[in-house]
Amino acid sequence: MQTSPQVRLSPLTGIVLAAVLLAGTAAMADSGPTNASPSLRVVSAGDLKTLLGQARGTTTLVHVWATWCPPCREELPSVLRFRAAHTGHGLEVILVSADAPKQRPQIVSYLAQAGVAFSSYLIDNPDAIFIDTLCTNWSGALPASFFFGPKGELRQWWEGKADPEKYEETAEALSKQVRNGGRQ
């Protein structure tokens, strides 16, 4: 390998540069959601189960998608609108990407472009354990949506893209059931 003869940094310059770089990194880490770099956590099926356990007391939609999946990309904006309309009103939305973990930078960039500023998740291995954590009848096709009731029980699910109306109708039906004490 050839070295560049032109640029030689003094030790002091090196220290100053390192300090500037460190400060820059710290500033980026502290800048929070305003810099539109959404947090994307790699999770196992077990982690997802824990998350669902923590969501008890509210209706939770788990939406599984991937950046390369055209119907997922078409549907994501309406899922985000659905989330915006319902979050804090008895319904939470958990987004789980089934992209390859090594694609993480591309997914973060895609989420940022889609205006996602909240935390979402990336499944480490989309295997049968992951599928069964959500619904044993799910074939594994994407996209897929799963509505869990306040006690963590699966109330409604589907695979494939759905109209925004279907999400709204499902949320309304589930909220009626919750008001009726879980009866149909």
């Binding site: 599984v64 991937a66 390369w68 999946c69 055209p70 119907p71 089934a98 992209d99 390859a100 973990p101 090594k102 499944i123 291995n125 989309p126 295997d127 049968a128 992951f130 599928i131 009848n137 074939s139 594994g140 096709a141 994407l142 699966l154 109330r155 409604q156 699910w157 589907w158 695979e159 494939g160 109708e169 499902t170 309304e172 039906a173 589930l174 059931q177 149909q184």
Partner: protein, 206 residues
């Protein structure tokens, strides 16, 4: 079809919808369907699954070119399929995707992939997605393994580690093929994993 059922689900019928959304895939023991449907092969010939049948059995994998899950599993799938061919299993990979959705799934690009990856078996175009529908296949990759009598003995995924070959603990498809070749029962006849949805071709209205 489950999608038709889903279309008539009413707001109050939540639990009905949960059962209606089940897949209609072939059950273990079912006979190989659509066996006489001729499909274009990457070698230019027209081939039906009946032509592919091997002495030991038949492996049909619904797959495609574009899908990242297929790409992740490609080398492992081809290894299992080529080994199966050597052991007397007839193999067909079937692409039921509409290339209008992904041009990467066109016949020309299928030919290139089959050559590059050394497919020692047919790679067929299901040009109305009718074969995929007959199998009740929903995703790629999705494997169906039939015994010598044409009865389904395995349906499911390739193994338990989509993205990392080094982390595979359960070699589902390989074990199923090995069991079939050895004349044993398949230990795990039904498995699954997340896959790409099949981009079904639109069927002309009757």
């Amino acid at each position: 079809m489950s999608m038709t059922k889903l279309g008539v689900v009413t707001v109050g019928a939540i639990l009905v919808a949960v059962s209606a959304a089940r897949g209609d895939a072939l059950a273990i023991g079912a006979t190989l369907p659509a066996a006489d449907q001729k499909m274009a092969n990457v070698d230019g010939k027209m081939v039906a699954l009946a032509d592919v049948k091997g002495k030991v059995g038949t492996l049909v994998v619904f797959t495609c070119n574009h899908c990242p899950f297929v790409k992740a599993w490609q080398d492992r799938m081809v290894q299992i399929a080529n080994d199966g061919v050597k052991a007397g299993v007839g193999v067909a990979f079937v692409n039921a995707n509409d290339p209008a959705v992904f041009t990467e799934d066109s016949l020309d690009q299928m030919k290139t992939l089959a050559k590059d990856k050394g497919y020692a078996f047919s790679y067929l175009v299901d040009d109305t997605s009718a074969v995929a529908r007959a199998f009740g296949a929903t995703r790629t990759p999705e494997a169906f393994l039939f015994d010598a009598a044409g009865k389904l003995v395995y349906h499911g995924t390739i193994d338990d580690s989509t993205y990392e070959a080094a982390k595979v603990k359960k070699h589902y498809l390989k074990d199923a093929v090995d069991a079939l070749v050895a004349g044993k029962n398949v230990a795990a006849p039904e498995t699954k994993s997340v896959g790409c949805s099949i981009k079904f071709r639109t069927v002309a209205a009757k």
